[in-house]
């Protein structure tokens, strides 16, 4: 299988502000968010990144999508380096995270056309794709409603649609079902499965075990910025279910019991 996404020895350190030092009760001025992390996603597979809040999942995904630059290491996206050719990488991926917001003044219709233009999608292709995606996510009836007036679930759907406006072969989703009601979450999960069936390569970060179990082929568990387990879902869950396995690993690696 083709190695479509290669994460190579990524490291990212952030400065800790005086305010954060006070809140966290630490005197450390630097925090290693991602510590020499490596993994590979193969063509057509869904790779899940599992970890608690602050484990480094989002930072990893932001480096993979060329939004921030790694201190060390590199990510090769279908052969393009995020360090050397970030714009090439950006044109190959679709990235969705809750941090990325849509301008609330505009309508889904306008935003789709705008982002399609930025991605260089032909007008006719964009029109057909918009029609298809808007129908699938039931956005059509809200196409001319300003984003500000949409529900949270509908906003998330619009964000999702816009992130894949250019039909990328690699899709990176950060907590795609976070904060969504069960119905919208199901629509998103089903869509991820559909993308998988279309042969798209998907990297998804989440702390929802059921989502991982439902859609992922392989899973990487991140604790404190380091990849502690990276294997197929089958191998990881051979003895225990994913949730139990995760907490075992977490307790072992973090040096504390999650039961406390």
């Amino acid at each position: 299988m083709k190695e479509l996404l290669q994460v190579q020895n990524l490291k990212k350190t952030f400065k800790v502000s005086a305010k954060q030092q006070k809140i966290q009760g630490t005197k450390e001025r630097l925090k290693v968010a991602v510590n020499h992390l490596s993994f590979t996603a193969y063509e057509g597979e869904v790779f899940g990144l599992l970890g608690s809040n602050g484990a480094g999942k989002t930072t990893t995904l932001r480096m993979m999508s060329a939004l921030i630059v790694p201190d060390e290491g590199d990510v090769l996206v279908d052969g393009s380096s995020v360090v050397k050719n970030p714009n090439e990488v950006r044109s190959k991926i679709g990235f969705l995270t809750s941090e990325l917001k849509l301008e609330e003044f505009f309508t889904p219709n306008y935003l789709f056309d705008f982002f399609a233009e930025l991605h260089g999608v032909e007008k006719e292709t964009a029109r057909k794709r918009k029609q298809e995606l808007f129908e699938k996510f039931q956005i059509s009836q809200f196409a001319e409603v300003k984003v500000a007036n949409l529900s949270t679930g509908m906003k998330q759907k619009v964000s999702l649609v816009i992130s894949i406006v250019h039909n990328p072969s690699i899709i990176i989703f950060d907590e795609p079902t976070n904060g969504l009601d069960v119905l919208t979450a199901k629509v998103v999960t089903d869509f991820l499965l559909e993308l998988k069936s279309q042969g798209k390569t998907i990297v998804v970060s989440t702390h929802i075990f059921s989502l991982i179990e439902k859609i992922c082929d392989r899973v990487g568990i991140i604790i404190d910025g380091s990849m502690v387990v990276c294997d197929t879902l089958e191998n990881i869950t051979a003895e225990k279910c994913l949730e139990e396995k995760f907490f075992d690993i977490y307790a072992e690696r973090a040096g504390e019991s999650y039961e406390k």
Binding site: S65, R90, L100, K101, L102, E103, F115, E117, H119, G120
Partner: protein, 395 residues
């Protein structure tokens, strides 16, 4: 990669022009408000002058001398009413003190004219004294006191009249009507234009850059393959156009209302300037708007939110206004081209020169080229900032 500058410009224009409230507050209101404000101020001045012209003061006077009666009748606004007897004088003073009656009470010595004629300064004796009672808490009385005192001063001067200065009322001021317009416009408009342009930029640039950062929408743009330089250039060009529209609205309001502001001076009008002057002015305004927008955009990109950006921009606006004021101070007006490399100062000086009809093409060229270069540097810095995660994602 496709050129996305136009895509960004179109988006910024759509954002601005489809928001009626924004168009109203940024483009229409400044011009209308300035026109109304200046017109009302001008009407105020005019009516004050008219009131002064028609104004008549009532002077209650005891022992009114004939000489003064003749002077007062020669075009002064004074109307005398004689007080006969001490009782009437006391009554008038009480009314004046109570504020019931305006104007003043003047008390002359008996035979004032004779006393004045007989008085010899060299004797050292006290001169005949005139007492003028007034109430300083009453505006009418206070101004009547001033007028009466002036009339008496003139009378005193006329007693020893040896020569006159400019005896005719007109014909000595050789300035033409055009000169008056030029002086007014070249003094006031450059400073006002700098303020208007800066205000126009301030109304939109922080919102477009710091606002997008604050709302997280800039990150959505940054994950697309758009070149950061295209994003920076698209933002600066579109914001400059909007700022110019806002500045133009204010400019129009000023030009139309300036004659009214100058107390209804019909002689002051912008028709003294031709197409050449307006074309040059447009060139200067365009290049200045680019510099100001670039400056505000950089500050906005550094700021974490709109509030912080506005706070940082305010001192820059004050500096810009001060540079605008240099056009009003002759000693700060330089003509050597080297001075026209100083951003914003060069714009104020060029505008002043254009309105003075004292245009130096070299200085105009230096200013426009320098401003475009500064705007280019601004685009470069903004591009680097868009690429800098510490700047873009600072919280």
């Amino acid at each position: 990669m496709k050129n996305n500058i136009m895509t960004i410009i179109k988006k910024e224009f759509t954002r601005f022009f489809t928001d009626k409230r924004m168009v109203l507050t940024t483009v229409i209101m400044p011009g209308v408000m300035i026109y109304l404000l200046y017109s009302v101020m001008g009407m105020g001045f005019t009516s004050q002058f008219e009131n002064t012209e028609n104004y008549q003061i009532k002077v209650s006077v005891q022992s009114l001398p004939q000489s003064l009666k003749i002077i007062a009748e020669q075009g002064t606004p004074i109307i005398f009413s004689e007080l006969s007897g001490e009782d009437k004088k006391q009554e008038a003073l009480e009314n004046l003190a109570d504020g019931e009656e305006g104007s003043i009470v003047a008390v002359f010595p008996e035979n004032f004219d004779e006393l004045v004629a007989e008085y010899d300064v060299s004797t050292g004796n006290p001169a005949p004294a005139v007492e003028i009672y007034y109430n300083s808490s009453n505006t009418e009385s206070k101004s009547a006191y001033g007028i009466m005192k002036e009339v008496l001063d003139q009378y005193e001067s006329s007693l020893a009249n040896k020569f006159d200065i400019n005896p005719a009322e007109e014909g000595y001021d050789l300035a033409s009507e055009e000169d008056m317009s030029i002086q007014v416009f070249s003094m006031m408009v450059p400073m006002l234009m700098m303020v208007f342009l800066f205000s126009g930029c301030m109304a939109i640039a922080p919102e477009s850059i710091a606002g997008e950062k604050e709302r997280g929408t800039i990150a959505t743009l940054l994950v697309t393959p758009i070149k950061r330089s295209h994003l920076a250039l698209g933002k600066i060009v579109s914001l400059s156009v909007i700022a110019i529209l806002s500045g133009f609205s204010s400019f129009l309001g000023t030009m139309l209302s300036l004659p009214k502001l100058m107390g209804g001076e019909e002689n002051i009008n912008a028709s003294v300037y031709g197409m050449k002057e307006y074309a040059m002015l447009l060139l200067i305004i365009l290049s200045t708007a680019l510099v100001i927008v670039a400056l505000i955009s950089i500050v906005s990109a550094f700021a974490k939110n709109v509030k912080e950006a506005t706070g940082w921009i305010t001192p820059i606006m004050i500096i810009s206004m001060l540079l605008g004021v240099t056009s009003m101070v002759e000693s700060l007006c330089k003509t050597e081209p080297i001075w026209f490399l100083i951003p914003l100062y060069n714009s104020a000086q060029c505008m002043s020169a254009i309105f003075s009809l004292d245009i130096s093409i070299v200085n105009i060229i230096v200013t426009v080229v320098a401003n475009i270069c500064y705007a280019g540097i601004g685009v470069f810095i903004l591009t680097k900032m868009f690429d800098n995660e510490k700047v873009m994602f600072s919280k």
